[in-house]
């Protein structure tokens, strides 16, 4: 990937498992992700595809007792977060105390459910100011002022800073979460399905706000979602994830106009067609495989209209079709960029 320079985020060969007494869940299976500075990457996939796990790995915040980074490296703005030690094992590159300095400051994350993301016993002003005080040398008063600024920025009157989370609606809570995330002007913002739990109108507002802030501050964005509409609105590049692996990646035009992978095509096909109301809905048949029990070959083979024996037996490798567009599918083994669907 020498074609990409100036990377904000680079993930190589990441493999993450959750190990419990009953089973081992293979959440992420060898993925590569990268985001250039100032650009936005959309990470698309259904629930259970491993998107949140990937995001948590960037922050090294996997649940301690069950989450294991088995392989791969992660680096943020050139600095390693997960590296390989002398024995070749993937280990955290920084002590937790150093990671704490990065979290919230260099990279910030917004989670999916705004209803439970805020601590109910602290005021919203306090929670935003805490973020500031943790990362910037300033007095409590200055932090409070900054918190007020951030609230105004996200469209909440600063006078509400002493109110508690339960006094806000879902949409406003999410805005508080965004204010908290952006308070220290992070270089990378990870947004994990930030609007899924909100009404459509509120969704539009929140997205608009993220876009404005991104444009204003030049933040790089990792937008995790299953909503293709959001991707179209916000992102420069798209990675499509399925069962813990990236099956297709490219620029917005690559993936939307020149869809190559059957799964991605399936996602687009399952959108209802407003122009043809009588057309039947075309869902993708079947279900995602159990991540604790992944099949030997391509994970999508069972649900794929184009699957062959080879697909079931052998995992497809990444195939670059153009400079910016790759796909992991046996259909394209010859590397030709043709529409075979």
């Amino acid at each position: 990937m020498g074609r990409y320079t100036n990377l904000m985020l680079e993930i190589k060969g990441l493999v993450v498992e959750y190990r419990t007494d009953d089973e081992t869940v293979h959440a992420v299976n060898d993925i590569n992700l990268w985001i250039e500075k100032g650009k936005s990457l959309g990470l698309v996939g259904e629930t259970g595809a491993g998107k949140t796990t990937t995001a948590l790995s960037i922050l090294n915040l996997l649940p301690e007792t069950t989450g294991y980074i088995v392989d791969g490296t992660v680096s943020l703005d050139g600095e390693p977060i997960i590296k390989k030690n002398r024995e070749g094992k993937s280990v955290p590159a920084l002590l937790d105390s150093d990671m704490q300095k990065i979290r919230g400051d260099k990279v910030a994350m917004i989670f999916q459910d705004p209803m439970t993301a805020l601590n109910p016993i602290f005021t919203v002003g306090y929670q935003i100011a805490e973020s500031v005080r943790l990362h910037q040398k300033c007095s409590a008063k200055e932090a409070e002022k900054k918190a007020e600024e951030m609230l105004e920025l996200v469209g909440i009157p600063a006078s509400r800073k002493d109110e508690y989370p339960h006094q806000f609606s879902g949409g406003m809570k999410q805005r508080v979460v965004i204010a908290m995330a952006l308070a220290c002007n992070p270089a990378l913002l990870i947004a994990d399905e930030p609007t899924t739990a909100l009404d459509v109108t509120v969704q539009a507002q929140v997205l608009e706000m993220i876009k404005n802030l991104r444009d204003k501050f030049g933040t790089s964005v990792l937008m995790i979602t299953h909503d293709l509409g959001i991707i179209a609105e916000m992102c420069d590049e798209v990675s499509v994830m399925y069962a813990g692996a990236v099956v297709e990646h490219g620029s917005l035009e690559d993936v939307f106009d020149r869809t190559r992978h059957p799964y991605t095509r399936g996602l687009f096909n399952s959108l209802p067609n407003i122009k043809d109301r009588t057309a039947r809905l075309k869902p993708i048949r079947g279900l995602m495989p159990d991540p604790a029990n992944l099949p030997m070959g391509c994970a999508f083979a069972d649900r794929c209209d184009y699957a062959t024996e080879k697909c079931r037996g052998e995992k497809p490798r990444k195939q670059w079709l153009t400079d910016s567009h790759f796909v992991a599918c046996h259909l394209y083994e010859d590397g030709k960029d043709e529409d075979r669907l």
Binding site: L61, Q100, F111
Partner: protein
């Protein structure tokens, strides 16, 4: 908050009246004649009837009940049917012991149990956790009077560190207080542990860590304040158990408290004394419950908001309903 407290205090009045009603009714329906006991074997039937009329024992229930309430309103607890002396004499002499024991026990329980519960949660599945959990299980399952007896055996009789007979000195308060608080202590340790585990895995803790909050701060600043709430609830609910258990404790340690006074006089069928004790107990329990609820409101702003809205009596029940829709509520109600 003041208005809320005031409403609760007012609410105590009908509750206390109802308590008096129930207990008086039970005593009324119970066979047993205190006067016969008082006057002894050679009392003539006429004398018995006369004394009973004098004390008002023969009057119909509602007359007695009404008269008692009226007197109580004037601060008069009535005369003991057995000794003939004012009930307030013995009652007020006994109250300090019971109050010191019960409050002391609750404080000791809270102060010791919360840290241990937190340790057990933070060091989950380690030896420390198992040891604390086993200890807590014993504490919840062992009858307090047995614990008291064992402690006396150990500390007073074998090692001779503490007095075995109660004599009002602070040393002699130690064992009874610990014994009485033992059950609540164990109960809170368990509650605190499970509540802490639940809070530690909640979304807002994850948010805090994603913000850059340290492990320590996330546990002790962010999580603990949330996790301590169920423990406070348990302390409040279990207080009535604590007071009930004072009967046994006062028997084991020979303490002249309200519990002893009550059962002694139940056997003698001395209704006014018994009712007097019940009134005291019921009021004390209600006051402690109120204090616990206020404390809860101070810590959790959501509850405070509920109080201010006027939704008072269901708060304790609401506090515990955190179940997601789809599950029947697994309340962690303390055992008696």
């Amino acid at each position: 908050m003041l208005k809320y407290s005031f409403k609760r205090i007012l609410y105590m009045i009908p509750v206390t009246i109802a308590v008096i009603f129930i207990v008086y009714l039970i005593m009324y329906l119970t066979p047993g004649d205190p006067v016969a006991l008082l006057l002894g074997a050679d009392a003539t039937p006429e004398l018995i009837v006369e004394t009973r009329a004098k004390l008002g024992i023969s009057d119909p229930f509602f007359v007695q009940f009404g008269r008692y309430l009226w007197n109580l309103l004037h601060g008069d607890f009535g005369m003991s049917w057995y000794t003939g002396n004012p009930v307030s004499e013995r009652l007020f002499a006994a109250i300090p012991y019971t109050v010191k024991l019960s409050l002391g026990a609750m404080l000791v329980a809270l102060i010791i149990s919360v840290p241990f519960g937190v340790i057990a949660a933070v060091k989950r599945n380690t030896i420390a956790d198992y040891a604390i959990s086993v200890f807590a299980m014993i504490g919840v399952s062992a009858p307090t009077f047995w614990v008291g007896t064992m402690l006396i055996l150990l500390f007073a009789l074998e090692w001779r560190v503490l007095p075995s007979a109660f004599d009002g000195t602070w040393k002699s308060y130690l064992l009874p207080t610990i014994t009485q608080g033992f059950n609540m202590l164990a109960s809170i340790v368990r509650t605190q542990r499970s509540s802490m585990l639940e809070v530690l895995s909640s979304d807002y803790i994850r948010t805090a860590r994603a913000k850059g909050v340290s492990h320590f701060s996330a546990t002790y600043k962010h999580a603990l304040r949330n996790a301590v709430l169920p423990s406070i609830t348990v302390a409040g609910l279990d207080f009535s158990l604590l007071v009930g258990g004072s009967v046994a404790i006062e028997t084991v340690f020979a303490i002249p408290g309200v519990g002893r006074l009550m059962i002694d006089n139940i056997k003698l069928h001395d209704t006014p004394t018994v009712i007097g004790c019940m009134v005291f107990v019921s009021v004390m329990v209600s006051i402690i419950n109120l204090l616990v609820d206020i404390l809860y409101g101070l810590i959790d702003p959501r509850i405070k908001a509920q109080y201010l809205k006027g939704n008072n009596n269901d708060t304790r029940k609401n506090k515990k309903k955190e179940g997601k829709p789809g599950t029947a509520n697994m309340e962690k109600v303390p055992e008696e």
